[in-house]
Amino acid sequence: MSLDEFFVTGDPLILGSQIAIGLTMVGLVALITYLKRWKWLWREWFTTVDHKKIGIMYILAGVLMFFRGGVDGLLMKAQTSRPELGFLDAQHYDEIFTTHGVIMILFMAMPLLIGIMNVVVPLQIGARDVAFPKLNALSFWLFFVGAMLFNISFVIGGSPDAGWTSYFPLAGKEFTPGVGNNYYAIALQIAGIGTLATGINFVVTIIKMRAPGMSWMKMPIFTWTSFVTSILIVAAFPIFTVALAFMSLDRLFGTHFFTVAAGGDPMLWLNLFWLWGHPEVYIVVLPAFGMFSEVIATFSRKNLFGYKSMVYAVAGIAFLSMLVWVHHFYTMGNSAAVNSIFSLTTIMIAIPTGVKIFNWLFTMRKGRIEFSNAMLWSLAFIPCFTIGGVTGVMLAMAAADYQYHNTMFLVAHFHYVLIPGVVFAVFAGLYYWWPKMFGFKLNEKIGKWHFWLFVIGFNMTFMPMFFVGLDGMSRRMYTYSESTGWAPWLGFSAVGSVVMAAGFAALCYNIYWSFRYASRDVGSDPWNGRTLEWATASPAPHYNFAVVPEVDRIDDFWYKKKEGKTGIKKSDLKPVHMPSNSWTPIFLGVAFGIVGFFLVFEWFTLAVISSILIVIGLVANSFDYDDGYHIPVDELEEEEREWRGELK
């Protein structure tokens, strides 16, 4: 392979990106070296096993990926803003919507939610870390390496271009012979292993590490939704692992699982993809539901209405979500019985979802609502998400879906569920838990700009898509003619996307501004919270709780505050056992990345040789006898005194 096959050439946009990426890398390395920060990075971040730091790294990566996916989105909107534009050609447009979809779901939504779960769940259940801290670090590095591998595709070797769903036969070697779709198979496999490990980690953490007295029905609702999400991850991701393995075998080694040639079946790919894919959309939306519940209860100054019905609704949604996958391919020509059954199960999901909507509304009823930024996002979520849900029920009717399927109407639907359901939630969660992570609040005034620009821009961008969709515009069209009459709709939508991007810029500015200027004097409990994460200092100390809290009821902390019983006694302090840092997770991550890269290019000898690195990492890990260390009592006392005052 010659060098100009290796690097993607011939497009000024891509050349620009290549130069920009090169310069950024050199700049970063130079900056870190100049500031002498390598050691610090290695010690405090790269080798950390602290769930809070891992969470922050997830969030950082998620925001970066949001930027990348967002730029992809803007490019697509620019291309369709006017009829017959030649800004992107068909091939380039295909590559962009593919990377956009994959990045937004797997590398934006997933890490942002898993990041917030990492920061918050152990604190909410009064634990000192997750059950397997080192595995947690490995999860992060596998995700990160997978994401990076996927991201370089557009400059090295070529992007995948068969859609985020990568349907066969298009995704097979016969029709897409380049390395692009190898990236899809390999990078998602690596990241997926990390996610699966996260699922296992959080199931065990939540079952085994809750504070004394916190029985199941006294668990905070966000912990509940994280628990159910983790179960769904463990149930659904193995299906994707298998599907991707088949895809890799088909593409790299010439098997025929999904190609008709030797008796394979392309529909098997769709079937497996959606067996994972539908649960996946609930994996991203359930933790988000939990965040809204926490935020709405806190800022309405009331306990969550119908807590138990919320728990059952979440469990019900999760249960049904494994039984609806065929609604993504009603049109493949199933029997009437298949389509009817899956129509029914799909529509049934709207019932527990509706229960949740009413619970949120009743939580606010007669509450003393405080319109903080976190609360604003939750308020905007309810109507926007309801539009997404109602159009979902329309799509769920198999006969009608023959009209809607693969039109812009579908695209509008899933953006109306995913953006309010995930992105709004992540914003709410970030504003809400920011002080717990960093010890200061994000600015509320800049936050309002962020809020209004983003929400208005979002509706401007996606509302028109319902109408052009009903008017027959199919999805993934890279251009259209004047005579269709869609130009005004799509032009308006393109303007909306710029407004939404301005909202994102306001968020970035807010983060920058708040890091520099926000008051550091926010106390440990700035929102008058109800759950245990607010019972410790902000930012949370690395040991989380000097004394493990005991819980008697739901929202225990809220009542303890009223009773004046939040203090700790000096005599209760005992040395705290903490896990040590480890280099094996990042080493293994990089090793997987190298092997993955060679597999993408089908350089098998190199792949086999470099997989020795993985073996080395695993062996080193097995011989790691480090049992962690203890934080002595006087160190605990000193840290606690700093924010509690003298201990009794």
């Binding site: 149930a235 493949m332 199933n334 298949v338």
Partner: protein
């Protein structure tokens, strides 16, 4: 559910022990002393194996024991349910409709 049977006679263990031996012998009997076809023998032995596993899990491995033993049970039932949905659901979806016509 309680783990205090040390003082009482371990009926559970005795019954479990006898049942597991009986099931094993039954499998041997089916193979050597009946004239069923091989595929039927495999089905019978497979079924016996499921019972054997259940006996081991409940009588010796005490899946239901401990404060949160029921979690194991729910977990196993859900896993089996999912496996059935995935396997038979996929077969049904991929073989009915237009796929059934050729």
């Amino acid at each position: 559910m309680s783990s205090t049977h040390s003082s009482r006679f371990p009926w559970n263990h005795l019954i479990g022990f006898i049942l597991s031996i009986a099931l094993t012998l039954l499998a041997v009997f089916v193979k050597f002393y009946t004239s069923f076809s091989d595929s039927i023998v495999v089905w019978i032995i497979g079924t016996l194996a499921i019972f054997q596993a259940l006996i081991q899990l409940f009588m010796f491995m005490h899946v239901t024991e401990g404060k949160e033993g029921w979690i194991n049970v729910v977990n196993m039932i859900y896993s089996v349910f999912l496996a059935l949905v995935i396997v038979f659901g996929s077969i049904w979806v991929l073989t009915s409709g237009h796929a059934a016509m050729h």
